[in-house]
Amino acid sequence: MATTTFYTKQRCNWIEGRDAKVDEVMREWMHKFCSFQDVKICVSTFNVNGKSPLSSFSGWFSQKREDIAEFYAVGLQEMDLSVGTYIIDNTKKMEGWVDAIHNSLPGGRTHYNVVGSMRLVGIFVIVFQATHSQVRVSDVNVKYVATGISVLVNKLGNKGGTAISMKMNDTWVCFVNAHFAAGNNELERRNQDFRDIYNDVVFYPRSQQEGYRDRPLEVPVMCLYDHDVVFWFGDLNYRLNTDLYGISNDDVRRIASSDKFGDLLQYCQLREQMARGTVFKDFEEPATLPFRPTYKYDCGTSIWDTSEKGRVPAWTDRILTFKKYPQVGLELIRPMESVEAITISDHKPVRALFNLKVKKINESGANSVYEEAIREADRRANEELPQVQLSSNEVDFGIVNYLEPKTRSVIVQNVGKSKVRFSFKVRPNAQNNQEICEKWLMVTPTHYQIPQGSSMEINLTVSISTDIVRRIQDILRNGQLQEILVLHLENGRDYFIPVTAIYNNSCFGSTLEKLLTIRPKKEVNLIDFEDFADNLPSDDCPQDIPRVIYRLVSALRVRGAKQLNIVEELDNEVFNRIRSALETGQPDDLSQLASSYMLYSALIRLLDSLDEPIIMEGMFKIIHKEMIKYRNDARQLWTTVRSSLPKPNQAVLELLCLMLREFFSQNYELRGQLSLWATVLFRHDSMDEKTHGMYPTVLQTMCDYAPDVSLG
């Protein structure tokens, strides 16, 4: 019936690792539901160089009353160097060493019980608990990780680590004993040894290992960093980089033997690697090591290695600690020290005495604060949500014109408690290829990071390009350009920014039919159109040609081809002046308003912005095909035009051909413009190489023979 205690024990609702925020609050509030007990833990590491143990080692552990610990954790390396030990599991030497350690503990072996031990060849870790100790030790679990030399796929285990995990009352503690790669130049392998052991020391609950499924995840799978405390010790083999600084072996030995040995620690590879964050991240070691390097001595003495290799002294033997969170009460209560009197090995043992505040969770207490902690965690989480203020909730561009981009900005100010990352979300059912907004709107930047307290400007630009203007009627909603941007804060809320603009219905982006209606009519209301009507020019514009096209062509013909400089640069301001003159009718005569090239460009833009090309394809898509077929036959071409195109299209085409014919006769070079005109008038697929070159020929033939000539 002993097994039933587990089920009858009151369960704690709080299980660490489910919710980081709740854990944080519960840890802060631990005093509300935990009692703490001071527990002394002595840790020692010793590379024994394969030596057989004495029956005990006096002085290995302090015998002073105040130094006596409840737990002793000892890690040995090179406990067994015999070749056989790699093949046959020979426990004899181990038993000798266990006895030796047991006998060396203060007060003698009868005062201590073994909690657990683990061996990987010569890497051995053992934990003792004093018989008088009141700490409830549970869930003891062991693990080894072999690194170093591989034989086939298996690691030999000459290097690696052994570890013991346990719960002391309700505090998870892990002891890791490791032996890293040796040699001055094997720094990277030592680092790799660390990473391998760190990652592979994972304890699966015994019940799972043994195939019992009775308490599946009651004891969680424990990684190293899941423990409240980790003691990591061993022969880590990190050396001194003194040679890089030109300090000779002799100098190192001299300094190491003097009072100034502490000066050498700055050259320690481990310290350097830790400072760089490559290994032992979040582990701690005392700022100074108040003992001489523990390596390498002539065995049986405390004399630096006199062998041929003459190793440079180093602190190879180390004890480091890790605390899962800052509130864990772990303290080194005596200076770390080495035991110089033990001379059996070429290393010296190192020992450290810690005090650990071992916690005991009061389950009912924990449960009573748990709900409050959840609420507190929610409160904190909501408070930490990113927050911004927008300079405006809505952007109204007012009136926008064709090819006249307009920019407005929204200032986003980070008023929250942390940095803000924002982006724009793609709206559902977006018919614009996963863009964040419609093509007439541009947003920059579309994502960015704003530091706390800072602000940044997001620029919104409305730009009505030819592409857009051709389908402007499909885009307009309630006569407006409308869009809603969804500004999303990472891990936070969304803001909607409605954007509106009124498109100035222009002669650009219109249809031929509509353009035809923009013409002065005598019968218009004289009050509304007073100015316009007063200045009505005598109108010689043919019925079927839109006045805006006629005015541009007339002005160009008046100025003549000689003045047309097609390498001139486009000036948007002048273009806007022309557009405004076309729309207001003032001045009616455009010939003095701008350069020939600007008028010419305006004409091309106007035709290009029409919803359909002048030479449209018609319902059965045969017009272009036919024209290609008759590309050298002016009579057939004009017949096709006359029979297939609507009247206004014919009239405009004839007018344009007339103009081009004049231009070509005045300046032969301008024939180079034919392919541009073909593109404007046909809007054919310029990627179709088979027909692409034929359209200019069609146009040329039509320009060469006016319809009245060719059709007789």
């Binding site: 299980i15 599946p216 960093y225 059912n429 909607f496």
Partner: protein, 209 residues
């Protein structure tokens, strides 16, 4: 031995699970969606709550007997012009509260439209609740309790009249939803819940934040 095996039926992590659910609030503007959330999450009430332009986000956890439910609450803008953006928020939601104002008949009609849209477009397993808010001004009521209740019954909705101002039924409606949410997915039936029992290091790659 029998005692040992009895424990074998226990769900991983024991009876107290933590699950995260996305909940969305929908309804006409000014019916009190933000006020309900503010009351539920912070226990506050502002007489003049600003209009929500966008979708506000808050989290709140509730404890049931055998589970801890963490709500990820999206409080959406009610104005009609933002209607087309609502799917961004109710898609993938496991719960929705459709809110109307008991003094505003039109808001009740809008609520019905929302319910219809959710029935059509949202996840078929979504837990829906109807909240008739502003129950503190029942003297100005234009939507009868019985009418709304009957509608809710017909459509299998949870229904409560609530008041963000007096906090009447506010916690209750969220709790009622929590109790209806699928805790502990049956084998082979993904529900979109996130089991947070696994230590967080092992959760990478799941949809849990």
């Amino acid at each position: 031995m029998a005692a040992r095996n009895a424990g074998g039926a226990a769900r991983p992590g024991g009876p107290n699970r933590t699950c995260q659910f996305k909940l969305v609030l929908l309804g006409e503007s000014a019916v009190g969606k933000s006020s309900l959330v503010l009351r539920f999450v912070k226990g506050q009430f502002h007489e003049y709550q600003e209009s929500t332009i966008g979708a506000a986000f808050l989290t709140q956890t509730v404890c049931l007997d055998d589970a801890t439910i963490k709500f990820e609450i999206w409080d959406t803008a009610g104005q009609e012009r933002y209607h087309s953006l609502a799917p961004m928020y109710y898609r993938g939601a496991q719960a929705a509260i459709v809110v109307y104002d008991i003094t505003n008949q039109e808001s009740f009609q809008k609520a019905k439209n929302w319910v219809k849209e959710l029935q059509r477009q949202a996840s078929p397993n979504i837990v829906m609740a109807l909240a008739g808010n502003k129950a503190d001004v029942a003297n100005k009521r234009t939507v009868e309790y019985e009418e709304a209740n009957a509608y809710a019954e017909d459509n299998a909705l949870l229904f409560m009249e609530t008041s963000a101002k007096t906090s009447m039924n506010v916690n209750d409606i969220f709790m009622a939803i929590a109790k209806k949410l699928p805790i502990g997915p049956a084998q082979g039936e993904p529900t979109g819940t996130v089991d947070m029992n696994q230590p967080q290091q092992q959760q990478k790659g799941s949809c849990c934040k």
